[in-house]
């Protein structure tokens, strides 16, 4: 496997992400596998942020700790992160002279200024330089820049392609051409760069979401921003709510009126939504919330990652009502599962939650084209209901009543109080039992349709690594690493957290020598759920809660001999 990691680092506000985007955008036409991750501090200026790009001849699923090339925008970045280079790793630094064979000087800003009269295209100089270090011609990069800037202005496009070529040439002249051992381009590796956050937005938009509201909160905001950016194209009304309480209640109102809708938040905001979630359970509304996790408690670490809200998402909201919880492991799964969450919510008229986190939200990956045939979800509405309609008539089985929306012949009455079949508030004990039973009856059907865990690795692997959500990537890479080194390992990944399918799980658990739950939290929350549901009595745990994501190498190492 040929696998190069490029780390671009600098202060907040210096354009680290812009530089990263330019480079990954340019590389996306090269026919190599790409994956990027981000690490940044909670501030607008200063600090130390970095953007990692993996360039590989095989599909990547997670980040890596050690870099092959460090592109540093500041001395601090170089000093702090040089230690994270592999032995013999390269340093592309901002300057003229070089005192080490691994230190490659490039004064990108100066070069850009000389060529274009402005430092704005410095990122294109740097991207061209990296292309040269990889031994790639600059055509793909220039093509990308042409496309990116060409729509805005001819001048801008020309300036950037000129700078990219100059950066490329400069490295070549200095004798550093092909200094990185880069993967060979392949015609079969094609696709587009999508982030986890954007894939959720696209999934929601194609599923027919027409109303999105949220209070901004890292790391969920990127999904909300994607929806806003594409709101005209998809006909979505996007409204910034005054707080998360408003957001979830607006979604309750919009879904009551028949429009697929969602909100995005993080743990702290979701805490404010708990009562509204319970309202959706009581009124039987298809409310969907994306929860992008970050370390808590309280404000915690706003720009870091965690898998700490599983038990919270599972229990949030007073009273007892059914819910579905999904946790995508990859960018592509994010696209699929937000659609699944919306469909499940509409089928069963109950809330569905999607748990992601900073690691997966910011992860970008070259992914194959998303299926163009994907249709909007079925809202499962009874649009012909007449005057005799009752919203909460108890069906013979399954608990799902026919759902009408206001505006037609049927009057639709919904209440946060316990209610009768017509929806009017009622203190009748019989009505209470019958409505509560009806709501909870949906859970059995939801369980029958729940996604089974995904198994990866040899069927008879001795070591089984259990994970959920975004740990998919690191665990999958750990499994590959372990098997390459002669071990016998496999992964069992939960993309649906609730309800679980005990039979499908148990089938995969028998006959293992060792089972270990890998989670981004301190208390092994998923392992606890597996115990509670009788799926797995006991397991080892491998946990991380410092705010950074796992890597495959780290897991493989911590598993030990």
């Amino acid at each position: 496997m040929v696998d190069v990691l490029i780390r671009i680092a600098g202060e907040a506000g210096q354009g680290v992400v812009t530089a990263g985007n330019t480079l990954i955008g340019g590389l996306s036409g090269m026919g190599v596998h790409l994956l990027s991750t981000q690490s940044y501090m909670s501030r607008i200026r200063g600090g130390l942020n970095w953007y990692d790009i993996r360039v590989s001849d095989r599909e990547c699923f997670a980040g890596r700790e050690q870099a092959d090339l460090l592109v540093s925008f500041t001395n601090t970045a170089r000093e702090v992160l040089s230690g994270s280079l592999i032995p013999g790793g390269l340093n592309l630094h901002d300057g003229e002279a070089s005192d080490s064979a691994n230190m490659i000087p490039l004064n990108a800003a100066k070069l850009a200024k000389e060529l274009t009269g402005s430092t704005l295209a410095a990122n294109s100089v740097a991207a061209g330089a990296v292309f040269s270090l990889l031994g790639y011609p600059s055509d793909a990069l220039c093509g990308y820049l042409e496309k990116l800037f060409g729509q805005k202005s001819r001048e801008l496009a020309d300036a950037n392609t000129k700078c990219a070529r100059a950066g490329h040439e400069c490295i070549k002249k200095a004798g550093f051409w092909e200094r990185l051992h880069a993967p060979l381009p392949s015609g079969s590796v094609i696709g587009h760069i999508w982030s986890g956050a954007a894939a959720l937005g696209l999934g929601a938009a194609t599923a027919g979401v027409k109303f999105a509201t949220a209070y901004p909160m890292s790391p969920s905001t990127a999904t909300f921003a994607w929806l806003a950016e594409h709101s005209d194209q998809y006909g979505i009304l996007v409204e910034q709510a005054e707080d998360e309480i408003a957001a979830v209640n607006m979604v309750c109102g919009a879904t009551y009126a028949g429009v697929p809708a969602l909100t995005t938040t993080s743990g702290g905001g979701f805490a404010l939504m708990a009562e509204g979630l319970s309202l959706a359970g009581m009124m039987e509304l298809p409310v969907v919330a994306v929860i992008a996790q970050r370390p808590g408690p309280a404000t915690g670490m706003p720009t870091r990652t965690a898998q700490q809200d599983l038990q919270f998402a599972l229990r949030a909201g007073h009273g007892e009502f059914p819910r579905a919880i999904y946790a995508p492991g990859t960018v592509q799964q994010g696209y699929q599962l937000i659609r699944t969450a919306l469909q499940t919510a509409h089928w069963y008229q109950t809330p569905a939650l999607l748990l992601t986190d900073q690691f997966l939200q910011d992860m970008e990956k070259l992914v194959p084209v998303f299926p163009e045939t994907d249709k909007p979800i079925d809202r499962c509405l009874d649009l012909d209901a007449g005057a005799e309609y009752q919203r909460y008539r108890v069906p013979a089985t399954g608990g799902v009543s026919s759902r009408a929306i206001p505006g037609g012949k049927a009057l639709v009455v919904v209440d946060s109080d316990e209610h009768d079949t017509a929806g009017h508030l009622s203190e009748d004990f019989q009505a209470r039992i019958s409505q509560q039973d009806k709501r909870m009856a949906k859970l059995a059907a939801m369980q029958a349709e729940a996604l089974p865990p995904e198994y990866y690795g040899p069927d008879t692997a001795e070591l089984l690594l259990i994970c959920w959500g975004s740990s998919y990537g690191p665990v999958r890479e750990a499994v590959d690493a372990l098997n390459t080194s002669g071990r016998s390992a496999a992964m069992l990944h939960a993309a649906q957290i609730w309800p679980l399918t005990p039979d499908a799980w148990k089938l995969r658990l028998s006959g293992r020598r060792r089972i270990c739950c890998v989670e981004g939290n301190q208390t092994a929350q998923f392992a606890a759920l597996l115990r509670e549901t009788g799926i797995l009595a006991q397991a080892e745990t491998l946990l991380r809660y410092d705010g950074m994501p796992f890597t495959g190498a780290e897991i493989a190492e911590r598993i030990g001999p």
């Binding site: 109303f211 009304l237 009057l411 009017h424």
Partner: protein, 283 residues
């Protein structure tokens, strides 16, 4: 399981005290609604929690109803209006629900000037929780919680709504059923934007200060020469309280509504636009 008690006989409708100001409000609203010509099928009554918030359940003929959480009537109503702005969305709730628990939403729903008709049953006290101060209780009002009397300044919903450019701001009182109904009808006829009608009403159980008599002695209909589009004069009226309380339409603005400014709503309401869309533009 043991035999369930049948409380149907005891669960009388409405759940209001005899003499409650909610009765005249229900009556006036029914009358105004019938006269307005609004179609119950195209109308949603939204409320929060409290005695006032139960009104939608008692309306004849009935409408669509969304009886949501305490304090959250406005965001729910906002979601409904966004999803289908062809619907008439009317909110009825109390002062605790609208000005206390839902205070933040009150500020921002009016800022949006979204097309909601909001009727606030303002009895200056919490009824369903049995007699605590509300955001509009007068200073010095003694309760079993505010044992030394209310020390906070009463909230002025009318002034806030005027400051934010609310489309229509009015005050009326249950003590004058004719005025009450006429004001409600005017509110229901408003074509665009947020409409706030603050309805002063006595609480016969828990407010022995602001009684029918107390309000009746102080109500002063706004003179016909008042120009409701004059914001400063409207503000002056909104600040009048005590011996003389102005009633009627205090303020009107020409601000466009939230719905009318949303580009995505120009082709019709969202609920009519759920259809397939290809991904071409993204690839």
């Amino acid at each position: 399981m043991s035999q369930l008690l049948d409380l149907k006989k005891a669960d009388t409708i409405p759940a209001w005290c005899p003499g409650c100001g909610n009765f005249p409000i229900l009556k006036a609203f029914s009358g105004a609604f019938a006269e307005s010509g609004l179609n119950p099928e195209k109308t949603v009554l939204v409320s929060g929690i409290g005695q006032a918030a139960k009104l939608p359940h008692y309306l004849e003929p009935p409408c669509n109803i969304f009886n949501g959480l305490h304090g959250r009537a406005l965001p729910a109503a906002t979601g409904i209006k966004c999803a289908n702005h062809e619907l008439e969305v009317i909110v009825t709730s109390g002062d605790g629900d609208m000005y206390g628990e839902g205070g933040n939403h009150f500020i921002h729903a009016i800022r949006r000037n979204i097309g909601l008709k909001v009727f606030v049953h303002n009895n200056q006290v919490y009824g369903l929780t049995k007699g605590q101060a509300s955001p509009t209780s007068d200073e010095g009002f003694v309760t079993r919680i505010q044992t030394h009397g209310v020390m906070s300044t009463p909230f002025n919903p009318l002034a806030l709504a005027i400051v934010e450019g609310c489309s229509m701001v009015a005050r009326t009182c249950t003590g004058d059923p004719v005025h009450l109904k006429a004001t409600m009808l005017e509110a229901l006829r408003q074509k665009e934007g947020f409409v706030l009608v603050d309805i002063l009403q006595p609480c016969v159980s828990f407010n022995q200060i602001n009684t029918y008599k107390w309000y009746k002695e102080r109500m002063r209909p706004i003179p016909p020469e008042h120009d409701p589009y004059d914001r400063m004069k409207a503000l002056a009226l909104a600040f009048q309280w005590g011996d003389s309380i102005p009633t009627g339409i205090i303020y009107r603005s020409r601000r466009p509504s939230f719905e009318s400014r949303q580009p995505v709503l120009r082709q019709g309401s969202l609920v009519t636009r759920i259809k397939q869309k290809t991904l071409e533009q993204h690839q």
